[in-house]
Symmetry: C2
């Protein structure tokens, strides 16, 4: 078998316009946001239907042709970057949004619809889709599910996994599994969708999604709290979870991050004085007076007993946004401290305070010339740590090894929300032992015996996978 | 290989007291709550540690001995009932509760701990475990996870799947997978726990669970609403989801169920007059005044625009409990209408009103002598339907075939929360197509190539599985 004969069959099946190669690939964005170099692929396939995706896979599998799946290319783990000899299978032409179910609050969309398109579409009907993240304008819902995307509202709504009622998936052999359930409770045999959510495109290609919506929130409260210690933050989190059923975000910023962020966005400090940590809290839902009463009474009690030192409640959407800008200054900081190592880890809450203290002390001793900034989604045990600007690749690798090993010892996860891809593959063993990685391989072999799909992503490929 | 040599090895490995057979099995409860007859097993194993479970599986697999996993035996699908030639592997000696993590709100327990033991244990520390169901005193947490149990609070907290942070699982070959994560966000490779949750013990045996807790609720509101129509109920649900972030239950009772339930428990009607449907709403969380304000303002608005005809807000815990008794009268009704067919199905909300209307009309025409009662967890699309007393098995089968086929046509699930076991296996095809059932079989083969574990549960066993 050779590439030309495969391309001929693909053109016949998908149409000439859906199969690009050689010069036609010139100038096309094919690499994700990881910064890792992408190889030139053998071809780019752009089927325009789930059946086209299924056909493309069947033909590639028959030819033993390796395939890399490509969504919005906003991943940070290099998983979507083509490797030499691979064919890119793009979902970008699968952009259909089916009619919303306004009674049940569900919707079926094709995998190439962007997160922002979905947000805008359902809002017009009085519904919202709770997943939200910075890449919303480019990231695609198929990719959100394949990587189990997270974001700022997981404490209330869960990850992308919790928003997915059903999936349609094309398997490497071309089987199209249509499991577009629209009900919350469903124990009719194995819930196969969970096999594909978060497996980063290694087991099948998501072509359509059935998603659960939530009614549009009537109001939102945003509060920034200055806290005397990390322990106080965990107490505030527990009370906020208890007293504010609408709690939708609980973001923590350590002082080093907070000061660098204020500086980066040129903001006036919203609070006087400096404090060890700051919590940014958001609630969603209920009508304005009801939710305001809850937030105010929580703050009063916490200021009285010293859990909170100072706080500012946003009085307008503008003020809420300017508080969020401090948290979202990470974008600016990432550019400013290049080259950097940016971590996306989880650490159990009871170990997180000690973990951060020890990690920062260790980093500052070893790398006194670098900045080490720390913030996270406290409600989800998700910690982001930024170290930079780094001297060279060797230094970056050293810092990664140091932190990932410490995360492993603390019983944490080396990837909270960004996934493994190829970038974090060497460190997977810190969070998953041999038996677990072996079972991942067994599943891969059961679903993709020829090893053609996203080979080498997440874990080492087994022998047998090859390219034409 | 014969049974005696296997039992000898098991006694050597687990201790004599953990291996019972022959007369020692006399009088032991081995059947679940399905009412299906259980065969006498070859032996009963009661290992007292995860390592013991793993050893028992390894030895059984080596001898090609079929094993059925046994938890609290409260299942309704016959999945735990021994079949001829099987060995029962009981989790009842795995009763250890590890120290609670009071900061993060997580806890690790062994699989044989009952749901109620967990409730009582964590409440003493100011935490609660949100899953709750009638069988709480007997059902075990390992079984809750293996069957992905549901209950009344899924609209707020999700099913058992959403409460599980991590699992320890013994595979049929004896591999012990220890994945006891304690963090919410974890995308470090495939999230293998989802393979075992809801697969009814066919892929591995859960030995320990890491569970997420929620802070104890400060208050609770319970309201019974009388509604002019099913459509009004869906509007009320949407508004309640929008305005009451603490909404924890939204139960619907059709009038035929409501009247039979009042009669069965001998209760005074809490509302005057009769209405097509009744909604029982509960909120949890926040302090008393805040949540009362939300509930009252929602009801005022809904009564004003005719969505709600009449309502009663419970003024005490006693009154709340007496409202819940109407909903929970299903226990009495199940005894009263024996023999019966009891359905646990899901139907998309937008089809549910029409589905119930057509199904009840059809049932009343065909089976005018039977009662057909209908209620459900509206917030989760979960519908329970009770038809009885039936004439004979043939009539019961006829009614099942009729309803399951209609559920399939409506795009629903033939099992919302009870699972498939052996009882619903003949109907699985109404909710899952051939390709999906084939993939379930492929997974079964990948994890249990000898086919020894819970063989024939959920779907037909493949050849190769046998007993000694």
């Amino acid at each position: 078998m050779n590439l030309d004969s495969l391309l001929g069959e693909l053109r016949l099946g998908l149409g000439d316009a859906a199969v690009l190669c050689g010069d036609e690939l010139h100038g096309r964005a094919l690499a994700d946001w990881s910064g890792i170099a992408a190889a030139a692929p053998s071809a780019l396939l752009q089927p325009s239907s789930p059946e086209g995706v299924s056909l493309a896979l069947r033909l590639c599998e028959r030819h033993g042709q390796r395939v890399v799946v490509s969504g919005g290319l906003t991943g940070l783990a290099g998983g979507a970057n083509p490797q030499a000899g691979e064919v890119v299978l793009s979902l970008s032409k699968l952009t259909r949004i089916e009619p919303i179910d306004e009674v049940g609050g569900t919707i079926v969309v094709q995998a190439g619809v962007t997160l922002q398109q979905l947000h805008e579409h359902v809002m017009a009907f009085g519904w919202s889709f709770p997943l939200d993240l910075g890449a919303r304008g480019s990231c695609q819902l198929g990719g959100n599910a394949a990587t189990n995307a997270g974001g700022n509202r997981v404490v209330r709504f869960g990850m992308m996994r919790e928003q997915v009622l059903g999936l349609e998936v094309a398997l490497p052999d071309g089987t199209l599994l249509t499991m577009l359930d629209r009900v919350v409770k469903n124990n009719a045999g194995f819930d196969l969708k969970h096999l594909f959510i978060g497996s980063e495109g290694t087991l099948g290609v998501i072509t359509r999604l059935s998603l659960a919506l939530v009614p549009l929130a009537l109001s939102s409260q945003t509060v920034l709290c200055a806290l005397p210690s990390f322990d106080a933050a965990t107490r505030l989190l527990q009370r906020a979870r208890q007293r504010l059923p609408g709690l939708s975000s609980f973001e923590l910023m350590w002082d080093n991050y907070f000061q660098a962020a204020l500086d980066a966005v040129g903001a006036t400090p919203p609070l006087t004085g400096r404090y060890p940590v700051y919590a940014l809290i958001e609630t969603l839902g209920a009508d304005e007076p009801t939710s305001a009463v809850g937030v105010e009474s929580l703050l009063e009690a916490c200021i009285e007993d010293g859990t909170v030192d100072d706080a500012v409640i946003a009085q307008s959407l503008d003020q809420a946004q300017s508080l969020w800008e401090i948290r979202e200054a990470i974008g600016e900081l990432l550019s400013k401290f290049k080259p950097h190592v940016a971590f996306d880890v989880s650490v159990p809450l009871s170990h997180m305070g000690g973990f951060v203290e020890a990690a920062i002390a260790d980093l500052e001793t070893r790398y006194p010339d670098l900045q080490h900034l720390c913030f996270g989604h406290l409600g989800d045990c998700n910690l982001h740590l930024l170290s930079g600007p780094c001297r060279d690749d060797a230094q970056m690798l050293e810092i990664e090894e140091l932190i990932y090993a410490a995360v492993g010892r603390a019983g944490g996860s080396i990837s909270a929300e960004h996934g493994i891809g190829v970038v974090k593959r060497p460190f997977l063993h810190h969070s998953r032992d041999e038996a677990q990685i072996a079972l991942m391989g067994r599943l891969k072999h059961a679903l993709d015996p020829a090893g053609i799909l996203n080979a080498g992503r997440v874990f080492e490929s087994f022998p047998g996978a090859h390219s034409v």
